[in-house]
Amino acid sequence: YEVSAAGVCCAGISVPRMATGMQEKQYTPSLLSFFIYNPSFGPREGEEEKKILFYHPCDVEKNEKIRNVGLCEAIVQFTRTFCPTKPAKSLHTQKNRQFFFEPEDNFWIVMVVRNPMIEKPNKDGKPPTIEYQEEEILDTVYGAVLRQCYSMYKLFNGTFGRAMEAGGVELLTQKLEKFFYRYLQTLHLQSCDLLDVFGGISFFPLDKMTYLKIQSFVNRVEESLSLVKYTAFLYNDQLIWSGLEQDDMRILYKYLTTSLFPRHSEPELAGRDSPLRPEVAGNLLHYGRFLTGPANLKDPEAKFRFPKIFVNKEDSYEELHLIVYKAMSAAACFMISASVELTREFCEQLDSLVGPQLTLLASDICEQFNINRRISGPDKEPQFKFIYFNHMNLAEKSTIHMRKTASVSLTSVHPDLMKILGDINCDFARVDEDEEIIVKAMTDYWVVGKKSDQRELYVILNQKNANLIEVNEEVKRLCATQFNNIFFLD
């Protein structure tokens, strides 16, 4: 398996293609613009600018902004001719794709992504020829990325409507500016793929004993610290236990694994004696520390402010403090009503209660994990790679992605194969029935997709000379060993 180059390069930066001697440059998809508008805010001519609540990049000229928003409005309005209730979701043009999303009444978020392109130099000083690759971007993937943008905003700010109620357009634009200015920099459009469509959660595989230990730990903490409303427990970027609603956990999980954890991973990797570990010194009882809130409890200047998050509650939402506390590879999230003010005393109490227990649990889990690994035998490069997703519990598993962090996602297969997975996923989404699709790519890789009872499995096989029957046998074996034969088709 070759590691794809396209996965590593950053937005907009060109990577020369080695195949041709000429200086041919290939550009990956990149974010052209991102804006939020509400058509009801400037209905009269001459007031169009009032509609625009956020516009990235901000240095775009005013008329240009108005023009681009106008096009989106026109597209949306036009499609209502054909279906009043389901307007446009995306616009494809030669050079770019625009994605439309109306998360709340009349509030539209638009993301414009430039198609990947190849720049071919011309002789005699002529400007280079640009070839747009129009079929490279999958709507499902970027549509999901756009929805995720909103979910992330909502997790930390609540709805747009809430900001409007609290402080009108002014507050809303402030909040949007503050949030998206930073968030958009963390979008890595060139490495988005099927996993973004699923937005799944990777679960940590665990034996029953250890799982029960964790559950009783959560119960004990919630009993002792009655302020804690919800708890979530993760190990190594994988979820073990969550008291939140699935959809809230999904976006929180995304935040933890792609933003919060990576930012704190460096000291962790540095080891316990490293000077990079600011807080461990003097406390040998446990390795616990706060990832949100106070960096060092001993610091007299320490602030006890935690990020606030919004989670769904029936028709409404509730605002919570998010405390993320980590010991070695184990992380516990505690959520406490935002109406309560969190004090030094509370944090110290939590630290002394949770720290030692979590440290112990972390090493238990680690030990258990290593035992399991030994049982399952030595790591051998298998003949296949797979992605699995279960719509019912959002569980996902991928042997294709080597590491998924905020900055890079390394996939171990060619991007074209990943897109074929995306194509198959689109086919599955169309019909609500069990299906199986097996294709042979031009590169002779076999790709198998299975959908059965809310579960989807995608397998890539590197057996160029295999035939359909052999491929089928191979996948059957995989299902038997990995998934207890949950797929029934043929």
Binding site: K86, P87, A88, H92, T93, I437
Partner: protein, 524 residues
């Protein structure tokens, strides 16, 4: 040999579609060396009948003119009367112009339908044609008048995006998509609730574009709009709406339009040879193509040496014949532009049924507008010769069973299939089994074939094969350098069965190829 074929194909392509070229060379390395292009079942023995038989991609080619050059154009396709036509149509002292100033010279249309109704909205596939001034030219449902503001918006969207030196392609929403195709001086828009890809829908719009060109020629179209941007083209297209309607219907049903191929009337090769040679003998100086159809089946096609008919042009002829009831009784004589041959000029087609009650229809394509009687005589000569050589009865007998049932192939669980020989541009397919005979099911099956086709021919991620296992049927599709094969099995069919079915089917087609295909096409 194989290399030659490929070089030839590449020159047709004119290099505008780089990915396709790439795809083709990759296909040459297909793991079925025994079935390279030109040796697959159904491949013609002498020379192909059609221009560039595998030209699915042709439809998406951008530059018409460049392609022409590549074809090494003969004088034939440039009849002089296209300019006459313009004079007549546009000249100041003609009736139309004068009358139009007063009241217009038009018929009102009878497809009244409330364009704001749910029924109108929920049509499976809408097609709109408009001029670059935003004037309505055609709508599949409802009237152009009622939709003039909608079409105005469509044009506005096209020009708005164009102003940024960009091109609008499509809009996607839940459950439907809108596809735009600019073919100056026309703009075509499709709104589809099917699962077809953008590319497939574009291809269908291209067909509609060619349909309009075949009625007027591109030269005339351009001329008209250069002189009068605001021209209401419906005046010239009056009475042709049903042609477009019918073509759209065909696009949903006819596998030939999907495969860029035509299917033949199964016929003993000895009979077909007599028919072909009789047609060959009934030639005239102005004749370019002689085509004998039986309903939607091709019986034979004789062409002038070095002149090739493109399958798109042939499908337009099929559509013209199939859409017009007036040819049955008399002899029709009509100008027709074959846009893939030459967008600039008209041919003149003599169209007649061999007998009023028969499905056999003869089309004699001539370059001479005044040659009706001559061609009428050609037809007589053909008929005489056919009778003299006792082929007419054999032909009529064959017409009684124009199709075959899939049971004849003898493969369990196989319900239906499409097989296209790439080098000959011909395909064969059994009649629809009972399960797919209802209108709805037929459309659904075709939809499944469409899906497979668009996956196999994806512009940047083409596939060698697909196996799709669903609740209602199992499907398999396979492309090699020589053929395309699509199979539909009952849901009971297994993968092992599918694999063996392919081999069995290919053997069967090889055995039957001289009956199912035209292996020795003739020229005058």
């Amino acid at each position: 040999m194989d290399g030659e074929v490929h070089r030839a194909a590449a020159s047709w392509e004119n290099g505008t579609l780089a990915p396709v070229d790439r795809l083709r060379t990759e296909r040459a390395d297909s793991p079925t060396p025994g079935l390279v292009e030109g040796t697959e079942p159904g491949a013609g023995q002498k020379s192909a009948m059609f221009v560039h038989a595998q030209s699915f991609e042709d439809l998406t080619a951008e530059t018409e003119e460049a392609r022409k050059e590549a074809e090494g154009y003969s004088e034939l396709g440039k009849p002089a009367d296209s300019t006459d036509g313009i004079e007549v149509l546009m000249g100041k002292d003609t009736i139309s112009e004068k009358q139009n100033k007063k009241e217009g010279w038009q018929d009102s249309k009878s497809k009244e339908e409330d364009v704001s109704s749910e029924a109108w909205r929920s049509h499976r596939k809408h097609v709109f044609v408009l001029s670059e001034a935003g004037k309505p030219i055609y709508t599949r449902y409802g009237t152009e008048e009622a939709l003039s503001s909608t079409m105005g918006v469509m044009m506005a969207l096209v020009s708005f995006v164009e102003a940024d030196k960009n091109i609008i392609r499509s809009i996607h929403a839940d459950g439907y998509k809108v596809v735009f195709l600019s073919k100056s001086p026309l703009v075509l828009v499709g709104v589809s609730r099917t699962s077809q890809s953008d590319k497939e829908l574009m291809r269908e719009l291209q067909y509609i574009y060619y349909q309009i060109v075949s009625l007027l020629t591109l030269t005339q179209l351009n001329h008209i709009f250069q002189h009068k941007q605001n021209y209401d083209l419906r005046r010239l297209l009056a009475g042709s709406e049903h042609l477009t309607d019918n073509l759209l219907h065909r696009l949903d049903r006819d596998p030939g339009l999907l495969l860029s191929a035509v299917t033949c009337l199964p016929l003993a090769s000895s009979t077909r040879d007599v028919v072909s040679s009789s047609l060959q003998a009934a030639k005239a100086k102005s004749l370019v193509f002689s085509i004998l159809l039986a309903g939607d089946y091709l019986v034979t096609l004789v062409r002038k040496k070095d002149q090739f008919l493109h399958h798109i042009d042939l499908h337009l002829v099929f559509n013209l014949v199939g859409s017009s009831s007036s040819f049955r009784e008399g002899e029709g004589w009509t100008p027709i532009c074959l846009p893939k041959f030459n967008t600039a000029g008209f041919f003149h087609a003599h169209i007649s049924y061999l007998e009023p009650a028969s499905d056999l229809c003869l089309i004699l394509v001539s370059t001479d507008r005044e040659d009706f009687f001559n061609l009428s005589e050609c037809k007589q000569r053909f008929l005489e010769r056919l009778s003299k050589r006792n082929a007419y009865q054999a032909l009529k007998d064959a017409l009684k069973s124009p199709s075959y049932s899939v049971a004849q192939v003898g493969i369990p669980e196989l319900r239906h299939f499409l097989y296209k020989s790439k080098s000959s541009g011909l395909y064969t397919s059994p009649e629809l089994p009972v399960v797919y005979q209802s209108e709805e099911e037929e459309e659904r099956l075709m939809g499944l074939y469409h899906d497979l086709h668009s996956r196999l021919h994806h512009a940047t991620r083409p596939l060698r094969s697909i196996y799709h296992c669903g609740e209602t049927e199992n499907l398999m599709a396979w492309v090699t350098s020589g053929f395309e094969l699509y199979l539909c099995f009952s849901p009971l069919g297994t993968k092992a069965l599918a694999v063996s079915a392919v081999n069995k089917l290919l053997k069967w087609i090889r055995k039957e190829e001289d009956r199912l295909f035209i292996l020795s096409p003739l020229t005058y």
